[in-house]
Amino acid sequence: MTEVFRLDRVSKKYINDGREFLALKDVSLSISEGEIFGIIGMSGAGKSTLVRTLNRLEDVTSGTISFYGQDLGSLNARDVRKVRRNIAMIFQSFNLLQQRSVLSNVMQPLRIAGVRGNERKEKALEMLRVVGLEDKKDEYPSRLSGGQRQRVAIARALASEPKVLLCDEATSALDPKMTSEILDLLKDINRTRKLTIVIITHEMSVVEKICDRVAIIDSGMLAEAGEVKSIFADPQSEAARKLVFPSNPFDPSEKDSRLIRLVFDGLSAGRPFIAELVEKTGHKVNILSANTRSVGGIGYGQMVLELPKGEEEQIIGFFKDRGLSVQEVKHSEQLHS
């Protein structure tokens, strides 16, 4: 598959009041054409900096970023502007011109690209049709809802026929229903227009819903990257576990008890294991946390159990016999995972 972005050992250092701050450390990544690529991390992890290096809103301190094989760092100001017309961006706060009508907002990138008046208007109207807001063309952004404003921003981003769309926390200011609508729209655009989309978010639900692959950023470093499904089923890094698993588990009742984590894949989530365990063996386990979610239409789940003393091996055996993945969990890990 064609590679859209390739990041090779990218680092970014800020100097603030004489103090150095390393926002990105040695990040290497590859984003392919046509995919929806998620970049997730807690706030302050460096994901916004990372996405801004992709269109050179931020210069990197070391390492290289190439866009379709072209080294972004080697371009002069004029060429950077040209490249940016292929890399559209939408934002958490929409960033629409408040003093301009919806139509005029959508026409901006075309005007920058030097498209003539009439053609500009037609193209902008076409984009407003794509996002379903043609009837709002003469409104001003202040009269639209958050979801509608983001739709206008998407229409504006698409107008110049970019190759990539960068979304910087694009749904973070929206309520769940609007978030869902915007994500559906992005997915639809990805499919119909073969547009590569890079999504920055701190919400796992966004990644679950539309991303093909995901990179997890933790304090400026790439913690883990891969297919969304495999990371959900079996997160390797601490940062990934924090994001995948629920954040407020119960405390174990005893300090020295053994804890296990059960991970279900699509098949086993349909069966009542805990009920079977209690019914067939009489062992009582303490559920500290449990979570199920649907990733790409397949159910995933995980559960952390505290085992009663003396019966640990039988219980673990019971789950293993039924094909469940069982991992030992340390108390410390459970507490802050």
Binding site: Q99, P109, S142
Partner: protein
């Protein structure tokens, strides 16, 4: 009031409006670009340039710290050079403009600074050049705020124009000074002052109304 004074006041109103209009216009012709330069060359802005920003800032600050009355006197040779005379309505426009330019520039700078950095970032991400961003993003977004500022600036110029009466400028200020103050004609003094108040209020309120209408 005798009829010649009534006639003088009528004439004064016209002169005051004339001075205010031309001085305001000229101060924006110079002050608006200067304000844009002050804004765009400051730290972290799109044409960030520290030495240039310091030089412009210094000039503006020096001009602003001179009391207007002193500026009037200091500028007499310059005024004579430009207009051929240092007294009268036309001559007053020169010091009024020079006095208003730094105020306009700072006011413009402050209006432009209110534009959300996100909008500028969006413009940069679209591949717009700095000049394009100023003309098509920053100025339109700042328009309501610029209009509020203009209402304040124009009323300030009107106030200053009254001071020009001291060194032989025309307008209501000169009448208030000559008839009202030097000749103790209290009725003339109060009439002219009332007229000045009405004019300032009309400009301020009218300007605010236009600015509010412009805000989408």
């Amino acid at each position: 009031m005798s009829s010649y004074i009534v006639e003088a006041i009528k004439n004064g109103i016209f002169e005051t409006l004339q001075m205010t209009f031309f001085a305001s216009l000229l101060s924006y012709v110079i002050g608006l670009p200067l304000g844009i330069l002050l804004y765009s060359t400051s730290k972290g802005r799109i044409l960030s340039n520290r030495p240039l920003n310091l030089i412009f800032g210094l000039i503006v600050n020096i001009c602003r710290s001179l009391p207007f009355l002193i500026l009037l006197v200091l500028l007499i040779p310059f005024t004579r050079f430009v207009t051929g005379s240092s007294i009268g309505t036309t001559a007053s426009i020169v010091p009024l403009t020079v006095g208003a330019v730094p105020i306009v520039a700072r006011m413009v700078e402050s209006s432009l600074s209110e534009v959300s950095p996100g909008i500028i970032e969006a413009a940069v991400s679209m591949g717009a050049s700095p000049i394009y961003i100023i003309v098509h993003f920053i100025l339109p977004e700042a328009t309501p705020s610029l209009l509020f500022g203009a209402a304040i600036n124009i009323s300030t110029v009107l106030g200053y124009s009254a001071m020009a009466g001291v060194i032989g400028g025309g307008g209501l200020g000169a009448i208030a000074l000559q008839y009202g103050y030097y000749r103790y004609q209290k009725d003339v003094l109060w009439t002219t002052v009332t007229l000045l108040i009405i004019m300032v209020m009309t400009i301020q309120e009218g300007g605010n109304m236009i600015a509010k209408k412009a805000r989408k």
